[in-house]
Assembly symmetry: C2
Homo-oligomer: 184 residues x 2
Amino acid sequence: MRVLGIDPGLTRCGLGIIDAGSGRSVTLVDVSVARTDLDLPIAERLGQIHDAVDALFDAFRPDAVALERVFAQHNVRTVMGTAQVSGVVMVQARTRGVPVSLYTPSEVKAAVTGQGRAAKAQVAFMVAKVLGLAEPPQPADAADALAIAIAHAWRSGSSVPGGAAATPAQRRWAEAERASRRRG
Amino acid sequence: MRVLGIDPGLTRCGLGIIDAGSGRSVTLVDVSVARTDLDLPIAERLGQIHDAVDALFDAFRPDAVALERVFAQHNVRTVMGTAQVSGVVMVQARTRGVPVSLYTPSEVKAAVTGQGRAAKAQVAFMVAKVLGLAEPPQPADAADALAIAIAHAWRSGSSVPGGAAATPAQRRWAEAERASRRRG
Protein backbone atom coordinates (compact mmCIF):
# COMPACT_ATOMS: atom_id res chain seq x y z
CA MET A 1 0.00 0.00 0.00
CA ARG A 2 1.33 3.40 -1.01
CA VAL A 3 0.37 6.28 1.31
CA LEU A 4 0.59 10.01 0.67
CA GLY A 5 0.85 11.78 4.02
CA ILE A 6 0.07 15.49 4.06
CA ASP A 7 0.88 18.04 6.75
CA PRO A 8 -1.38 20.80 5.42
CA GLY A 9 -0.21 24.40 5.42
CA LEU A 10 -0.43 27.43 3.20
CA THR A 11 3.17 28.63 3.61
CA ARG A 12 4.70 25.16 3.83
CA CYS A 13 2.77 21.99 3.03
CA GLY A 14 4.61 18.76 3.88
CA LEU A 15 4.11 15.92 1.39
CA GLY A 16 5.51 12.46 2.17
CA ILE A 17 4.97 9.23 0.28
CA ILE A 18 5.80 5.79 1.67
CA ASP A 19 5.24 2.20 0.67
CA ALA A 20 3.98 -0.03 3.47
CA GLY A 21 4.98 -3.68 3.25
CA SER A 22 4.38 -6.65 5.53
CA GLY A 23 4.67 -6.21 9.29
CA ARG A 24 5.78 -2.71 10.13
CA SER A 25 8.10 -2.34 7.15
CA VAL A 26 7.81 1.05 5.46
CA THR A 27 10.03 2.57 2.77
CA LEU A 28 10.45 6.13 1.62
CA VAL A 29 9.17 6.86 -1.89
CA ASP A 30 9.23 10.65 -2.01
CA VAL A 31 9.21 13.63 0.29
CA SER A 32 8.85 17.31 -0.48
CA VAL A 33 7.47 20.56 0.86
CA ALA A 34 5.22 22.76 -1.29
CA ARG A 35 5.90 26.39 -0.42
CA THR A 36 3.89 29.42 -1.45
CA ASP A 37 4.64 33.11 -1.33
CA LEU A 38 2.89 35.10 1.41
CA ASP A 39 2.41 38.02 -1.00
CA LEU A 40 0.29 36.09 -3.50
CA PRO A 41 -3.52 36.06 -3.37
CA ILE A 42 -4.86 33.14 -1.33
CA ALA A 43 -6.57 31.57 -4.36
CA GLU A 44 -3.22 31.47 -6.15
CA ARG A 45 -1.38 30.04 -3.13
CA LEU A 46 -4.00 27.32 -2.73
CA GLY A 47 -3.83 26.67 -6.46
CA GLN A 48 -0.08 26.18 -6.36
CA ILE A 49 -0.40 23.63 -3.54
CA HIS A 50 -3.20 21.95 -5.48
CA ASP A 51 -0.92 21.68 -8.51
CA ALA A 52 1.96 20.26 -6.45
CA VAL A 53 -0.33 17.60 -4.96
CA ASP A 54 -1.79 16.83 -8.38
CA ALA A 55 1.71 16.23 -9.73
CA LEU A 56 2.35 13.75 -6.89
CA PHE A 57 -0.90 11.90 -7.64
CA ASP A 58 0.15 11.61 -11.28
CA ALA A 59 3.74 10.58 -10.56
CA PHE A 60 3.26 8.20 -7.62
CA ARG A 61 -0.39 7.02 -7.71
CA PRO A 62 -0.92 6.69 -3.93
CA ASP A 63 -3.56 4.19 -2.73
CA ALA A 64 -4.46 6.29 0.31
CA VAL A 65 -4.16 9.85 1.56
CA ALA A 66 -3.56 10.54 5.25
CA LEU A 67 -3.98 14.07 6.52
CA GLU A 68 -3.52 15.88 9.76
CA ARG A 69 -6.89 16.73 11.25
CA VAL A 70 -7.19 20.49 11.63
CA PHE A 71 -7.95 21.98 15.01
CA ALA A 72 -8.87 25.53 15.86
CA GLN A 73 -6.82 25.65 19.04
CA HIS A 74 -3.65 26.85 17.30
CA ASN A 75 -2.88 30.30 15.93
CA VAL A 76 -6.14 31.34 14.26
CA ARG A 77 -4.52 32.94 11.22
CA THR A 78 -2.47 29.83 10.50
CA VAL A 79 -5.44 27.56 11.08
CA MET A 80 -7.56 29.23 8.39
CA GLY A 81 -4.90 28.51 5.75
CA THR A 82 -4.38 25.00 7.08
CA ALA A 83 -8.11 24.30 6.88
CA GLN A 84 -8.29 25.68 3.34
CA VAL A 85 -5.38 23.49 2.20
CA SER A 86 -6.88 20.44 3.86
CA GLY A 87 -10.21 21.07 2.09
CA VAL A 88 -8.48 21.36 -1.26
CA VAL A 89 -6.48 18.15 -0.94
CA MET A 90 -9.44 16.16 0.42
CA VAL A 91 -11.44 17.05 -2.68
CA GLN A 92 -8.47 16.20 -4.91
CA ALA A 93 -8.23 12.75 -3.34
CA ARG A 94 -11.98 12.20 -3.67
CA THR A 95 -11.91 13.27 -7.32
CA ARG A 96 -9.31 10.56 -7.92
CA GLY A 97 -11.19 7.97 -5.88
CA VAL A 98 -8.45 7.74 -3.25
CA PRO A 99 -9.67 7.28 0.34
CA VAL A 100 -8.78 9.99 2.85
CA SER A 101 -8.07 9.36 6.53
CA LEU A 102 -7.62 12.05 9.16
CA TYR A 103 -5.38 11.80 12.22
CA THR A 104 -4.92 14.13 15.14
CA PRO A 105 -1.35 15.19 15.97
CA SER A 106 -1.42 13.06 19.13
CA GLU A 107 -2.60 10.00 17.16
CA VAL A 108 0.33 10.45 14.79
CA LYS A 109 2.81 10.91 17.62
CA ALA A 110 1.45 7.90 19.48
CA ALA A 111 1.62 5.71 16.38
CA VAL A 112 5.18 6.68 15.49
CA THR A 113 6.81 7.12 18.92
CA GLY A 114 4.46 5.28 21.29
CA GLN A 115 3.82 8.56 23.07
CA GLY A 116 0.99 10.96 22.18
CA ARG A 117 2.83 13.94 23.60
CA ALA A 118 6.20 13.26 21.99
CA ALA A 119 8.32 16.26 21.00
CA LYS A 120 8.62 17.13 17.31
CA ALA A 121 12.30 16.14 17.32
CA GLN A 122 11.42 12.70 18.68
CA VAL A 123 8.84 12.19 15.91
CA ALA A 124 11.41 13.20 13.28
CA PHE A 125 13.98 10.87 14.87
CA MET A 126 11.57 7.91 14.74
CA VAL A 127 10.55 8.72 11.15
CA ALA A 128 14.22 8.58 10.13
CA LYS A 129 14.73 5.37 12.09
CA VAL A 130 11.77 3.42 10.66
CA LEU A 131 12.48 4.60 7.11
CA GLY A 132 16.20 3.81 7.43
CA LEU A 133 17.27 7.40 6.74
CA ALA A 134 20.66 8.69 7.88
CA GLU A 135 19.12 11.90 9.24
CA PRO A 136 15.67 13.21 10.20
CA PRO A 137 13.92 14.72 7.16
CA GLN A 138 14.08 18.51 6.94
CA PRO A 139 12.13 20.76 7.37
CA ALA A 140 9.79 19.64 10.16
CA ASP A 141 6.81 19.72 7.74
CA ALA A 142 8.48 16.99 5.66
CA ALA A 143 9.06 14.80 8.73
CA ASP A 144 5.47 15.41 9.90
CA ALA A 145 4.04 14.42 6.51
CA LEU A 146 6.00 11.15 6.61
CA ALA A 147 4.92 10.55 10.21
CA ILE A 148 1.27 10.93 9.16
CA ALA A 149 1.79 8.47 6.31
CA ILE A 150 3.50 5.97 8.66
CA ALA A 151 0.73 6.38 11.23
CA HIS A 152 -1.83 5.54 8.55
CA ALA A 153 0.12 2.52 7.31
CA TRP A 154 0.43 1.12 10.82
CA ARG A 155 -3.14 1.90 11.82
CA SER A 156 -4.92 0.66 8.75
CA GLY A 157 -4.16 -3.03 9.03
CA SER A 158 -1.18 -3.42 6.75
CA SER A 159 0.45 -4.87 9.87
CA VAL A 160 -0.93 -6.38 13.06
CA PRO A 161 1.10 -4.88 15.91
CA GLY A 162 0.51 -6.74 19.14
CA GLY A 163 -0.95 -9.71 17.28
CA ALA A 164 0.17 -13.33 17.45
CA ALA A 165 3.04 -12.83 15.01
CA ALA A 166 4.52 -9.83 16.82
CA THR A 167 7.89 -9.97 18.51
CA PRO A 168 8.09 -9.10 22.24
CA ALA A 169 9.42 -5.65 21.30
CA GLN A 170 6.52 -5.08 18.90
CA ARG A 171 4.04 -6.14 21.58
CA ARG A 172 5.55 -3.67 24.05
CA TRP A 173 5.38 -0.98 21.38
CA ALA A 174 1.75 -1.79 20.66
CA GLU A 175 0.92 -1.69 24.38
CA ALA A 176 2.61 1.69 24.69
CA GLU A 177 0.61 2.95 21.74
CA ARG A 178 -2.64 1.77 23.26
CA ALA A 179 -1.79 3.31 26.63
CA SER A 180 -0.89 6.54 24.88
CA ARG A 181 -4.21 6.53 23.02
CA ARG A 182 -6.08 6.03 26.28
CA ARG A 183 -4.29 9.00 27.78
CA GLY A 184 -5.39 10.88 24.66
CA MET B 1 -20.56 40.85 -15.96
CA ARG B 2 -21.88 37.66 -14.40
CA VAL B 3 -20.95 37.12 -10.75
CA LEU B 4 -21.16 33.94 -8.70
CA GLY B 5 -21.45 34.91 -5.03
CA ILE B 6 -20.67 32.21 -2.49
CA ASP B 7 -21.49 32.15 1.21
CA PRO B 8 -19.23 29.23 2.11
CA GLY B 9 -20.40 26.58 4.55
CA LEU B 10 -20.17 22.84 4.98
CA THR B 11 -23.77 22.23 6.08
CA ARG B 12 -25.31 24.93 3.88
CA CYS B 13 -23.37 26.73 1.15
CA GLY B 14 -25.21 29.68 -0.42
CA LEU B 15 -24.71 30.07 -4.18
CA GLY B 16 -26.10 33.15 -5.94
CA ILE B 17 -25.55 34.25 -9.53
CA ILE B 18 -26.39 37.70 -10.84
CA ASP B 19 -25.82 39.69 -14.00
CA ALA B 20 -24.55 43.22 -13.46
CA GLY B 21 -25.53 45.75 -16.10
CA SER B 22 -24.90 49.47 -16.43
CA GLY B 23 -25.18 51.71 -13.36
CA ARG B 24 -26.32 49.71 -10.36
CA SER B 25 -28.65 47.41 -12.30
CA VAL B 26 -28.38 43.78 -11.26
CA THR B 27 -30.59 40.85 -12.21
CA LEU B 28 -31.02 37.44 -10.66
CA VAL B 29 -29.72 34.51 -12.74
CA ASP B 30 -29.80 31.65 -10.26
CA VAL B 31 -29.79 31.01 -6.54
CA SER B 32 -29.44 27.77 -4.61
CA VAL B 33 -28.07 26.29 -1.42
CA ALA B 34 -25.81 23.23 -1.51
CA ARG B 35 -26.50 21.13 1.59
CA THR B 36 -24.49 18.22 2.90
CA ASP B 37 -25.23 15.58 5.47
CA LEU B 38 -23.48 15.98 8.85
CA ASP B 39 -23.00 12.20 9.05
CA LEU B 40 -20.88 11.94 5.90
CA PRO B 41 -17.07 12.05 5.98
CA ILE B 42 -15.73 15.57 5.51
CA ALA B 43 -14.01 14.68 2.22
CA GLU B 44 -17.37 13.54 0.82
CA ARG B 45 -19.21 16.63 2.09
CA LEU B 46 -16.59 18.91 0.54
CA GLY B 47 -16.75 16.87 -2.65
CA GLN B 48 -20.51 17.30 -2.90
CA ILE B 49 -20.19 21.06 -2.56
CA HIS B 50 -17.38 21.00 -5.13
CA ASP B 51 -19.67 19.13 -7.53
CA ALA B 52 -22.54 21.58 -7.00
CA VAL B 53 -20.25 24.54 -7.69
CA ASP B 54 -18.78 22.80 -10.73
CA ALA B 55 -22.28 22.31 -12.14
CA LEU B 56 -22.93 26.06 -11.73
CA PHE B 57 -19.67 26.92 -13.52
CA ASP B 58 -20.72 24.66 -16.40
CA ALA B 59 -24.30 25.91 -16.58
CA PHE B 60 -23.82 29.65 -16.04
CA ARG B 61 -20.16 30.47 -16.89
CA PRO B 62 -19.65 33.27 -14.34
CA ASP B 63 -16.99 35.92 -15.12
CA ALA B 64 -16.11 36.44 -11.47
CA VAL B 65 -16.42 34.67 -8.14
CA ALA B 66 -17.04 36.66 -4.95
CA LEU B 67 -16.60 34.92 -1.64
CA GLU B 68 -17.08 35.79 1.98
CA ARG B 69 -13.71 36.18 3.66
CA VAL B 70 -13.43 33.68 6.49
CA PHE B 71 -12.67 34.87 9.97
CA ALA B 72 -11.76 32.84 13.01
CA GLN B 73 -13.81 34.91 15.42
CA HIS B 74 -16.99 32.86 14.94
CA ASN B 75 -17.75 29.40 16.27
CA VAL B 76 -14.49 27.50 15.75
CA ARG B 77 -16.10 24.24 14.60
CA THR B 78 -18.16 26.05 11.96
CA VAL B 79 -15.21 28.11 10.85
CA MET B 80 -13.08 25.07 10.02
CA GLY B 81 -15.72 23.79 7.58
CA THR B 82 -16.24 27.26 6.18
CA ALA B 83 -12.51 27.65 5.57
CA GLN B 84 -12.32 24.24 3.90
CA VAL B 85 -15.22 25.06 1.57
CA SER B 86 -13.71 28.45 0.72
CA GLY B 87 -10.39 26.80 -0.13
CA VAL B 88 -12.10 24.30 -2.41
CA VAL B 89 -14.11 26.87 -4.35
CA MET B 90 -11.16 29.26 -4.70
CA VAL B 91 -9.14 26.51 -6.37
CA GLN B 92 -12.12 25.62 -8.60
CA ALA B 93 -12.35 29.22 -9.77
CA ARG B 94 -8.60 29.42 -10.37
CA THR B 95 -8.66 26.15 -12.36
CA ARG B 96 -11.26 27.73 -14.63
CA GLY B 97 -9.38 31.02 -14.88
CA VAL B 98 -12.12 32.96 -13.10
CA PRO B 99 -10.89 35.75 -10.76
CA VAL B 100 -11.81 35.43 -7.09
CA SER B 101 -12.53 38.40 -4.81
CA LEU B 102 -12.98 38.20 -1.06
CA TYR B 103 -15.22 40.45 1.02
CA THR B 104 -15.69 40.73 4.76
CA PRO B 105 -19.27 40.51 6.06
CA SER B 106 -19.21 44.23 6.94
CA GLU B 107 -18.02 45.15 3.42
CA VAL B 108 -20.94 43.19 1.98
CA LYS B 109 -23.43 44.77 4.36
CA ALA B 110 -22.07 48.25 3.68
CA ALA B 111 -22.24 47.75 -0.09
CA VAL B 112 -25.80 46.43 -0.08
CA THR B 113 -27.43 48.43 2.73
CA GLY B 114 -25.07 51.40 3.21
CA GLN B 115 -24.45 50.21 6.76
CA GLY B 116 -21.61 47.85 7.75
CA ARG B 117 -23.47 46.61 10.81
CA ALA B 118 -26.83 46.02 9.17
CA ALA B 119 -28.95 43.14 10.47
CA LYS B 120 -29.25 40.00 8.35
CA ALA B 121 -32.93 40.73 7.67
CA GLN B 122 -32.05 44.18 6.33
CA VAL B 123 -29.45 42.67 3.96
CA ALA B 124 -32.02 40.14 2.70
CA PHE B 125 -34.60 42.93 2.28
CA MET B 126 -32.19 45.03 0.19
CA VAL B 127 -31.15 42.00 -1.89
CA ALA B 128 -34.81 41.40 -2.76
CA LYS B 129 -35.31 45.10 -3.50
CA VAL B 130 -32.37 45.57 -5.85
CA LEU B 131 -33.05 42.28 -7.66
CA GLY B 132 -36.78 43.08 -7.97
CA LEU B 133 -37.84 39.96 -6.05
CA ALA B 134 -41.23 39.79 -4.35
CA GLU B 135 -39.72 38.33 -1.17
CA PRO B 136 -36.27 38.04 0.44
CA PRO B 137 -34.53 34.87 -0.78
CA GLN B 138 -34.68 31.94 1.64
CA PRO B 139 -32.75 30.57 3.47
CA ALA B 140 -30.40 33.28 4.78
CA ASP B 141 -27.44 31.58 3.06
CA ALA B 142 -29.08 32.18 -0.32
CA ALA B 143 -29.67 35.88 0.44
CA ASP B 144 -26.10 36.22 1.74
CA ALA B 145 -24.64 34.66 -1.42
CA LEU B 146 -26.60 37.12 -3.57
CA ALA B 147 -25.52 40.02 -1.34
CA ILE B 148 -21.87 39.02 -1.83
CA ALA B 149 -22.38 38.90 -5.61
CA ILE B 150 -24.09 42.32 -5.58
CA ALA B 151 -21.33 43.78 -3.39
CA HIS B 152 -18.77 42.58 -5.93
CA ALA B 153 -20.71 43.95 -8.90
CA TRP B 154 -21.03 47.36 -7.28
CA ARG B 155 -17.47 47.47 -6.00
CA SER B 156 -15.65 46.28 -9.08
CA GLY B 157 -16.38 49.16 -11.41
CA SER B 158 -19.38 47.90 -13.34
CA SER B 159 -20.93 51.10 -11.99
CA VAL B 160 -19.41 54.34 -10.70
CA PRO B 161 -21.37 55.26 -7.59
CA GLY B 162 -20.47 58.73 -6.44
CA GLY B 163 -18.94 59.56 -9.80
CA ALA B 164 -19.91 62.39 -12.16
CA ALA B 165 -22.82 60.47 -13.64
CA ALA B 166 -24.40 59.55 -10.31
CA THR B 167 -27.73 60.93 -9.19
CA PRO B 168 -27.89 62.84 -5.87
CA ALA B 169 -29.38 59.74 -4.24
CA GLN B 170 -26.56 57.57 -5.55
CA ARG B 171 -24.00 60.05 -4.25
CA ARG B 172 -25.57 60.01 -0.80
CA TRP B 173 -25.54 56.20 -0.91
CA ALA B 174 -21.90 56.19 -1.93
CA GLU B 175 -21.03 58.59 0.88
CA ALA B 176 -22.86 56.41 3.38
CA GLU B 177 -20.96 53.38 2.08
CA ARG B 178 -17.63 55.14 2.45
CA ALA B 179 -18.51 56.35 5.95
CA SER B 180 -19.54 52.84 6.88
CA ARG B 181 -16.25 51.47 5.56
CA ARG B 182 -14.33 54.02 7.62
CA ARG B 183 -16.21 52.94 10.72
CA GLY B 184 -15.22 49.37 9.80
